[in-house]
């Protein structure tokens, strides 16, 4: 398997805090990789650097064979790297449907065209049907529940047909039914060939969904492997439970 994303010796310091410290790992194409670790271990910071929202102090990030030196979220997005946020970020004033269309990464010249073309609506509706949100298409996104917002954000970043999707705690703060739905949607998209990198605290979900699992602690990778192995790795247990 080839690596779709490679992170090498990534470092980020905030003042005296080394949020990410010499962190290296890779994400294979076609895998659902989990990135776990105790609170403050640098998962989200690593996410932000990989997706171009934050500039790294040092280290290399390679996505799809190209080194990403000048990180720019927009360019990465168009190249097929999408992400969601811990606190779902949607556009509350736009309708559910428009939230999808605006994230589809339309080319320059379509800017001057209709707000929603027939093609746009059709694609958005297909996506909404997949996510069982079709009945809410015309509702302002502000009226969605938190769980629905998470689904909508996930659906929206899929509109650009990404190769790699980074999900930052996709099931945090949502009800158990929604966790199952989220898992279903991740699996369905994975089957279609999308690679996932997931930060998640729900260990049951991680253990049944992800392989491999990467464990971060204090900004560095301390373990990597199939979930069954990682689960009994003494270093990992130390990191989580303290020595």
């Amino acid at each position: 398997m080839t690596a779709l994303l490679e992170v090498e010796k990534l470092c980020k310091r905030f003042g005296g805090v080394r949020a990410v410290d010499d962190c290296s790992f890779s994400v294979d194409e076609g895998a659902i990789t989990a990135l776990i670790g105790p609170n403050g271990s640098g998962k989200t910071t690593a996410f932000n650097m990989i997706t171009g929202y934050l500039k790294s102090d040092s280290g290399d990030i390679r996505f799809d064979g190209h080194t990403v030196n000048e990180p720019d979220p927009a360019r990465l997005y168009r190249k097929g790297l999408s992400r969601t946020f811990q606190q779902a970020r949607i556009f509350p004033d736009l309708s559910v449907e428009e939230n999808l269309v605006v994230a589809a990464g339309p080319p320059w010249r379509s800017l001057f065209g209709a707000r929603l073309t027939k093609t746009d609506r059709l694609r958005a509706l297909e996506m909404l049907e997949e996510f069982r949100l079709a009945g809410l298409a015309d509702l302002p996104a502000a009226e969605l529940s938190y769980g629905q917002r998470k689904l909508l954000e996930f659906a929206a970043v899929l509109m650009s047909r990404p190769k790699l999707v980074l999900l930052d705690e996709p099931t945090a703060g949502v009800n158990p039914v929604m966790i199952n739905m989220m898992e279903h949607h991740i699996r369905a998209r994975h089957k279609d060939g999308v690679t996932f990198l997931i930060v998640e605290h729900d260990m049951h979900l991680v253990m049944r969904l992800c392989d491999p699992v990467i464990v971060l602690d204090r900004g560095a990778t301390i373990a990597m492997g199939p979930p069954a192995e990682v689960q009994i790795n003494p270093i990992v247990l130390d990191a989580y439970l303290g020595n």
Partner: protein, 348 residues
């Protein structure tokens, strides 16, 4: 365009186009010219301050630019009187081009900082107008040649010029709402970083909004200068002008087509009434402040959005609303749970 919307537009502009024929008193036409001017200015400001969510306080700088362009070019003669109107498109395009690098730099800041940066632009422009005496004649001001219009209908050309520019501003506003530019701007307004992150052409649409907004503002400034016949730095580049545009847009409703127009049609006559009753003192400024307070307290989103919201919520309580709630699968846990089983089965 919905039939009703088209009808509304045609009726509005049709009525305004016929109005001079029914109005005898020059002071009423004068009031109408200023109402249309502010409606156009507020609509232009709304393109940037409303749709993009960038609250510029510097628009008066571009208004002054247009005013001085007319005053400088037509200092000595205006020919048959219609020449300055033909220069307006050029002024608009010129101001729009000048604004691109300015907007590119200014729009690296946001919200309150952007407001401060743009108001700085206003004062720089005013200072330049005072001090570049060889071009602007400084505090002495500049006079525009008087057009040879017949006395009876002297105000008409200015009235129709303002009406045309209002139509242009509203046309662009309408176009924004119907195009992906407007969709992208709405995303920028809600969460610019997220919008950038999902590939929205953030810088591009912001610059388009900025350039069109100030281009129209400059053209209106040109008509204003020609109508008054005199241009002084403190009036051509006037912070109060900016505040008027902002206030009217806020009152009527930001990021709406009709909001700025409604705001102008309420505030301009009101301001004139105040000025009439309290003399030409600055007391009307107190009224401005009072209106600002009322908007913040009662209508934080402006007249139009508040009304449409109330209407929508009323409709939701009706039978149609219930239907929509039922159509939402995840809103109903029992139904959703059943659905999950269904999904699971499909997976196996």
């Amino acid at each position: 365009m919905s039939g009703l919307g088209l009808l509304r537009g045609v009726a509005f502009f049709g009525a305004l186009a016929l109005l001079p024929y029914g109005v005898g008193a020059p002071w009423i036409l004068n009031l109408l010219i200023f109402t249309l001017m502010y409606a156009g200015l507020a609509s232009a400001w709304n393109l940037l301050g409303g749709y993009a969510g960038y609250p510029s306080l510097g628009h008066a700088a571009f208004f002054g630019l247009g005013a001085y362009a007319i005053a400088i070019v037509f200092e000595d003669s205006v020919g048959n009187g219609y020449l300055p109107f033909f220069l307006l498109p050029l002024i608009g395009v010129g101001a729009a081009l000048v604004s691109v690098p300015i907007g590119w730099i200014a729009m690296r800041t946001r919200a309150d900082v952007f407001a401060i940066v743009t108001i700085t632009l206003l004062f720089i422009t005013q200072t330049l107008a005072f001090n570049l005496r060889s071009i602007t004649d400084g505090a002495q001001g500049k006079a525009v040649a008087v057009p040879p219009f017949p006395v009876d209908t002297y105000g008409w050309p200015f009235y129709y010029a303002m009406l045309t520019l209002l139509a242009v501003a509203m046309g662009v506003s309408f176009y924004f709402r119907r195009s992906k530019i407007g969709l992208s701007l709405a995303a920028v307004r809600a969460d610019e970083d997220k919008a950038h992150g999902v590939g929205v052409r953030v810088t591009g649409v912001k610059l388009i909004a900025f350039a069109l907004s100030v281009g129209i503002t400059a053209m209106i400034g040109g008509v204003w200068a020609y109508y008054l016949g005199f241009v002084y730095p403190q009036f051509a580049v006037d912070p109060l002008l900016t505040i008027g545009m902002v206030l009217m847009t806020f009152l009527g409703g930001r990021a709406t087509l009709w909001g700025p127009v409604i705001g102008a049609f309420i505030l301009v006559p009101a301001q004139q009434t105040f000025a009439y009753h309290f003399g030409a003192s600055q007391v009307y400024l107190l009224a401005y402040a009072a209106i600002f307070l009322i908007i913040m307290l009662v209508l934080p989103r402006g007249i139009l959005p508040t009304i449409t919201d109330r209407l929508r919520h009323r409709n939701k309580r009706g039978p149609g609303g219930q239907q929509r709630a039922a159509a939402s699968p995840v809103g109903n846990p029992v139904q959703a749970a059943g659905m999950i089983d269904e999904l699971r089965a499909a997976e196996r």
